[in-house]
Symmetry: C2
Subunit: 291 residues, 2 copies
């Protein structure tokens, strides 16, 4: 089975891919792709048994709009989920540190700023395109430090200086949640698991109180909302003279839940334009709640 | 006056800074800072007349949670706004192109993928930490191409190959909206301008239908919602056994609007915990609607 992930090798996407496949017995071919769009496009060019993994939520950044859009536009299905803690290590060589500095992706350097400022206040930061690229450079030169995942450290055989140096924000270590995607809905339901369902709601109109009407239906059917994200509607919405919104809603239940089905029916009845090929609600998929 | 922006020099933040100051007569000292957190922290360490500029919305990525969090946590004020179209140019030297490749930030390469794949399908992409870093490298080597803003092209004196090569998504060129921040609310109201106001609402409880209740108040007072983003509550919320949410709401009016004031009063009355220093609503600031 082919599995596409956001490269390079050793990235957190790569980790997520490995973790999500840990119980599979079949042989898996892990294929890195860049950018994010090509991860999903590669899946679309394959047969029904290929899968892809993309980040959809980060604790510090929230929902990843681009990922949700790619699922929506390419009509692929969410069939699983995987949480990966974003744990950075410091590794490399004290030799030449003052000249070579500490190499990593700007976001990784930012997330480790407290530790680095405390213990290495006068060492320059060198921004590179990815954390693994930083580790590769340090490994090649055998000089200076890299901030990278443990996997990246091992891959380039850098000596470990200090584990888990990332900032603690709001009492938590940063994490990223990933979706496993497929071209068909091959997800399986397990009774003792808590599920979430991601839907996209496009009302195709705009007026005061619209989102409140949508959420009134969600709460009428006793459904709980985990996350919400608004964006300008992606689908063609005709010449309305306004810019309608669409909403990504993460609902705390499985899509086979009876209340959920009634809620979706109500929203579609009210908001789907008559005599059109459009649909006011699209179910992107159900997946085990990450934790 | 000091103005802090997200560096390096020549970045889109730098452009936003220049545009937002185009009508000021006083001398301005532009100071680049990395990462985003240090832009806001630098502002906080200055006197009342310094300002900072940070991105808060991108057309492809939505609201920038990290920026909203920084405003919330550091209690600074939004005092202005600035939209910057994200327009990429191709520049550099045909010489050695097949070896040196096309250098840029991964996101810039992604946003120009259609043009690059059509006209330069077999040229390698070289990912670097920023678009201006790519231009600097190409300028130094006098070989290969860079994908960078026009300002970046001029800065490193690269010959222009082709202007505006970014992908068109959903009929639009990508853009980023920036907030101008200050330690005090020095914003001015102009009668003929449309304003938006960003607020953070933390209900400090969790139950089915909570967001719908909040939005029912917003629409009761005839207020229109431009954007919404949910995240786990930042403030301490006691030992409730649940994980309450907070909501960033962008409302289409100025904070001095009477309806808006009534709405905020209602939400604070209902959701602010009694006998606490907490507040259910925080007004982050009003600013002219970007367009």
């Amino acid at each position: 089975m082919k599995l596409f992930y956001l490269g390079p090798e050793g990235s957190f996407s790569h980790q997520a891919a490995g973790l999500s496949m840990r119980n599979r017995s079949s042989a898996i071919e892990y294929i890195p792709k860049v950018p994010l769009e090509n991860v999903v496009k590669s899946l679309c060019a394959e047969g029904a048994d290929a899968v892809a993994i993309i980040p959809y939520y980060n604790y510090l950044e929230g929902l990843v709009q681009e990922s949700l859009d790619l699922i929506y536009e390419n009509q692929v299905y969410i069939v699983g989920s995987q949480r990966v803690p974003i744990i950075f290590c410091l590794g490399g060589y004290e030799r030449g540190l003052e000249q070579t500095g500490i190499s990593s992706h700007p976001k990784a350097l930012a997330q480790c700023s407290q530790y680095l400022n405390q213990y290495y206040p006068n060492i320059p930061h060198v921004e590179v395109s990815s954390t693994t690229e930083g580790a590769r450079i340090v490994g090649e030169r055998r000089s200076g430090f890299a901030v990278v995942s443990k996997e990246g450290l091992l891959k380039y055989e850098l000596p470990l200086i200090k584990e888990d140096i990332g900032n603690i924000k709001h009492g938590k270590t940063n994490f990223t949640d990933f979706f496993l995607l497929a071209r068909q809905d091959i997800s399986q339901y397990h009774e003792k698991t808590d599920y979430f369902t991601m839907i996209a709601v496009t009302p195709y109109i705009d007026r005061v109180g619209l989102l409140q009407e949508i959420l009134a239906q969600v709460s009428f059917y006793d459904l709980n909302l985990a996350k919400i994200h608004s964006r300008p509607a992606i689908d063609e919405v005709g010449n309305l003279g306004v810019e309608p919104q669409m909403f990504y809603l993460e609902i705390m239940c499985h899509k086979d839940n009876e209340d959920f089905k009634h809620c979706v029916d109500a929203l579609e009845y009210k908001f789907t334009p008559k005599n059109s090929h459009l649909s006011a609600v699209r179910i992107l998929g159900s997946y085990p709640a990450c934790s």
